[in-house]
């Protein structure tokens, strides 16, 4: 394989891997902040226990997000040095600002949050998690600004003397229409993952606690009064704890399920607007999403197509009339341009770049677009179902079916996020920067295929091993349920044990 193909695979693997952890970090940091605020406001133990429970899972996830992100910061220079040289004047600025404004904020205040339970006054400690959550969002804005510029470059001019793209208007880069809609879409999709995560885990625990109640035998009649009293007291404590766990997880389930519906709705609305922006600035991507070869007006949306592998001939298609026109243009009979038309236009306009085929890989764009939407709708349906399960005083019954729902609740939106990004990024091919720089022109000229292959194998193996460890830890702590609520006080005595230490 050529260094270009390998570099593309490597960037794809490492980015998709990084993005398994990112949405959960972005959204869960703020949701944990909300839980802690609930505790701060009400003083109820259940909110403290929920904060600690989901906070711990958040930290396990955060560690993986950080280490996979470090690689990305340097990979541009390692594998894509000509790209970095060409666009660094523009692309580097958001990256540097992300580190300066966001990474410092989240890392410093998250450290203070983790260790500050007994060192900081409650209010300041609460502030640290809010600042960390704010930092994760800030970082998303900057990195999406960089990516949106690659999708829709503006605010720059080409300088033939230095042979590079040079920034002329930073404001235009930060108000790129693609950025303005991609950020809310990404944010909403992140909340879909985190609320699915919260609801799924809470649902599984509720079913488990419900079953535990059903199977707990009545206390055996004691022979000795003391033993009996002790056993009764222990059973009472266990029952009290169970009731509080149920109360906590019930709250969390509703919180998560409502969150799924709200964020799902936000994903739909932002996704719809994004589709129209995309049709405007990257019509080829829209055509590829639909495998629409010939321009149509009105255009129908194909829900599912079975055809030849390259999508050029369809065997069977399930279509809904007018929908594609509406998605793309906002009117029922708007014209949607097809791949063949665009290919002809681009050959005219961009022929001098030496690109032969201006269309991306059609099966990938077609199916990733559908997988993204399908999984997103599935997550919303699960949210509605979970709300129905706990209506009035109901508790879920433990069954393989319900466990499956709880497992799918976070996984469906997580994979929807991956497919969305795969669609966005592969739909831009053959361009690195749309209309400005072909992908093939961006790779590092001094780096051989063997070197890229080496790093790709190293990262894949390392990431794979860490994923096994991470999932194992997640499951361990998910199973443990809500930790005990312990008094939170500021340590004054030098010899007193800390409430948290690694």
């Amino acid at each position: 394989m050529s260094p270009e193909t390998l570099a593309r695979w490597q960037f794809g693997i490492t980015t998709v891997y990084h993005y398994f952890f990112v949405p959960l970090t972005i959204a869960l940091s703020l949701l944990v902040a909300v839980l802690q605020t609930m505790w701060f406001r009400t003083g109820q133990d259940k909110f403290l226990r929920l904060t600690k429970f989901y906070g711990k899972l958040f930290l396990i996830n955060f560690a993986m997000g950080v280490v996979t992100g470090i690689v990305q910061e340097f990979q541009f220079g390692m594998n894509w040095s000509e790209y970095s040289r060409f666009v660094g004047d523009i692309f580097g600025a958001p990256l540097a600002l992300e580190a300066l404004l966001a990474f410092f904020l989240e890392s410093t205040f998250l450290g203070a949050w983790i260790f500050g339970w007994d060192r900081l006054p409650k209010k300041i400690h609460l502030m640290t998690i809010w600042l960390a959550a704010f930092g994760t969002m800030l970082s998303a804005i900057f990195i999406l600004a960089a990516n949106s510029w690659m999708q829709n470059p503006l605010g720059y001019q080409y300088n033939p003397v230095t042979d590079r793209a040079e920034l002329t208007d930073f404001g235009a880069v930060m108000t790129n229409p693609v950025l303005l809609i991609t950020f809310p879409h990404t944010l909403a999709a992140s909340y879909l993952v985190a609320t699915g995560f919260i609801a799924g885990i809470a649902g599984w625990h509720l079913a488990r606690l419900n079953k535990a109640a059903a199977t707990t035998p009545t206390l055996p009649a004691g022979t000795e009064a003391e033993v009996d009293a002790e056993a009764t007291a222990a059973a009472e404590r266990a029952e009290t704890d169970r009731q509080e766990q149920i109360s906590g997880f019930r709250w969390a389930l509703k919180f998560g399920a409502i969150g799924l519906l709200i964020s799902g709705l936000a994903v739909c609305i932002t996704g719809d607007i994004q589709g129209k922006v995309m049709t405007d600035v990257q019509p080829m991507k829209m055509a590829a999403a639909e495998a629409l070869y010939d321009t149509e007006a009105p255009a129908s949306f194909s829900v599912l197509t079975i055809g030849t592998l390259d999508g050029s001939e369809e065997v069977y298609a399930m279509t809904v009339p007018y929908v594609l026109s509406f998605l793309a243009t906002g009117t029922l009979d708007g014209e949607v341009r097809g791949i063949n038309d665009l290919q002809a236009e681009y050959e005219e306009k961009y022929g001098h770049f030496g690109i032969v085929n201006f269309a991306p890989n059609i099966p990938v764009t077609y199916w990733s677009f559908r997988a993204m939407m399908g999984l997103g709708f599935l997550a919303m349906a699960i949210g509605a179902y979970l709300l129905w399960v706990v209506r009035k005083n109901h508790l879920p019954r433990s069954s393989w079916w319900f466990t499956a729902i709880c497992v799918i609740a976070p996984l469906a939106p997580m994979f929807a996020n991956s497919f969305g990004w795969i669609f966005t990024e592969m739909g831009r091919q053959p361009w690195l920067v749309f209309g400005v720089m072909p992908t093939a022109a961006g790779v590092s000229p001094g780096v051989g295929a063997g070197t890229v292959l080496t790093s790709m194998i190293v990262f894949t193996l390392l990431y794979g091993g860490l994923a096994v460890i991470e999932v194992g830890l997640m499951l361990k702590y998910i199973k443990e349920g809500l930790p005990e609520a312990k008094p939170v006080e500021v340590v004054e005595n030098d010899d007193q044990p800390l409430s948290f230490a690694y």
């Binding site: 711990k56 396990i60 950080v66 280490v67 996979t68 470090i70 340097f74 541009f76 220079g77 390692m78 594998n79 040095s81 970095s84 040289r85 666009v87 660094g88 004047d89 580097g92 600025a93 540097a96 580190a99 300066l100 404004l101 990474f103 410092f104 904020l105 890392s107 410093t108 450290g111 983790i114 260790f115 500050g116 920034l167 930073f170 590092s444 000229p445 001094g446 780096v447 070197t451 080496t454 790093s455 190293v458 390392l462 460890i469 991470e470 830890l473 361990k476 702590y477 930790p483 312990k486 005595n493 030098d494 010899d495 007193q496 044990p497 800390l498 409430s499 948290f500 230490a501 690694y502």
Partner: protein, 381 residues
């Protein structure tokens, strides 16, 4: 030659970011590398890890910011450097990945083999970057050969000359001493005494290595009086730090290793001005240097404003977090292992308060097996 002052300002700013990284992560790396040496029991290891627990992640961001700032201010530098030094950078990244999960994950299971594995992640993940950055910066002194297209034309093995290897060994020794003094500064009891004793021994070795490096650097790639002044500062600072550590003045000793680190790396950056550590002698075209690698004035101006506003803010809140976690730790302070690192509430605070403590950790009881904590439940039921 005065096209603009901005590239020079940004060269200095990027140097500052790297300096922040080496001064702050230097002791983080040292602490982790000392785990097998000073951390003979799990409790001691935990004390060591917890001295940097709340701080190490923020410290590491200095590196990411240095990388991002290089990309923004000197795309030509970023592109040539990181594609040229591909394999060394891969080693650093693998180290940082292993290290990045080590502290958080090691505490999550109360199992000796599990903890040993993550300890090795931390040790290797600290040793490898220390060594590679030392070798790397020595290479910038020597000069990385580039061609007319500004592409690195040396080989991987050409990076390991004797001066470069000395640079790597020096960095490891310096960070070990820096870390030992930091542990001494942040702990009480037995671990404090052991860290002090180690700092004295490693300090002597470090003085020799630092002296050899800076003298060699100035003899062969000298930058005049400034270079010799920096060399002298480095040697005096590391020697003073070693002596002060022995005398029990850990605060001043720590300032000494920090100053030595600063002087050494300022020396590196002075040598790298203005060719950024590249050797253009084989290059027939325009040289790769500060000016040809720089971004446009417009970008640099925006970045300068961002730096002027936000770097002081970052410094303030990082200093705040150091201040919040300023207390010395001892094995007494660690909650029992419950596999989830949660403490039992202290049952008798009055009794604990009566323990003889002078607040500076000079004569605190150091018995690991003090019975005081036995009423804690042994987690992992």
């Amino acid at each position: 030659m005065d096209p603009s002052l901005l590239p020079t300002i940004w060269f200095i700013l990027i140097a500052v970011l790297w300096l922040g990284y080496f001064v702050l992560e230097g002791f983080d790396y040292g602490v982790a590398m000392l785990l097998p040496i000073l951390g003979k029991t799990d409790k001691k290891r935990r004390v060591m890890i917890n001295t940097i627990g709340p701080l190490w992640d923020g410290n590491e961001v200095w590196l990411l910011t240095a990388g991002g700032a290089t990309f923004a201010a000197f795309p030509g530098w970023y592109a040539t450097l990181f594609s040229g030094l591909y394999l060394p950078l891969l080693l650093v990244l693998v180290g940082l990945i292993l290290r990045g999960v080590a502290f958080e994950y090691r505490a999550k299971r109360d199992d000796a083999r599990w903890r040993a594995m993550f300890d090795w992640f931390a040790i290797v993940g600290s040793f490898v970057p220390s060594l590679v950055w030392g070798v790397g910066f020595a290479n910038f002194v020597v000069g990385l050969p580039v061609n007319a297209d500004h592409i690195f034309i040396g080989s991987f093995w050409s990076l390991f000359g004797p001066f470069q290897l000395l640079g790597g060994v020096m960095a490891v020794a310096l960070f070990l001493t820096h870390g030992a003094i930091f542990i001494a500064l942040k702990t009480r009891g037995e671990i404090h005494e052991e860290a002090k004793a180690f700092a004295w021994k490693s300090g002597i070795v470090t003085v020799v290595l630092v002296a050899a490096l800076v003298v060699w650097q100035n003899l062969q790639w000298g930058t005049g009086v400034a270079g010799w002044v920096l060399a002298a500062v480095a040697i005096v600072a590391i020697a003073a730090a070693t002596a002060l550590a022995r005398a029990g003045r850990e605060g001043w000793a720590f300032a000494g290793t920090a100053l030595a680190t600063l002087a050494i790396w300022v020396g590196f950056f002075v040598t790298m001005y203005p060719d950024l550590g590249f050797d253009n002698s084989l290059n027939q075209g325009a040289p790769l240097d500060l000016w040809s690698a720089a971004s446009t004035e417009y970008t640099l101006t925006i970045m300068t404003w961002a730096a002027v506003v936000f770097v002081p803010i970052v410094l303030c809140y990082q200093a705040w977090s150091y201040w919040v976690f300023r207390k010395r730790l001892s094995v007494e302070n660690l909650p029992d292992d419950t596999g989830q690192a949660e403490a039992e509430p202290e049952p008798q605070r009055v009794a604990a308060g009566a323990a003889p403590v002078d607040g500076h950790g000079n004569d605190t009881p150091t018995d690991d097996s003090t019975g005081r904590r036995e009423q804690g439940t042994d987690g992992e039921a």
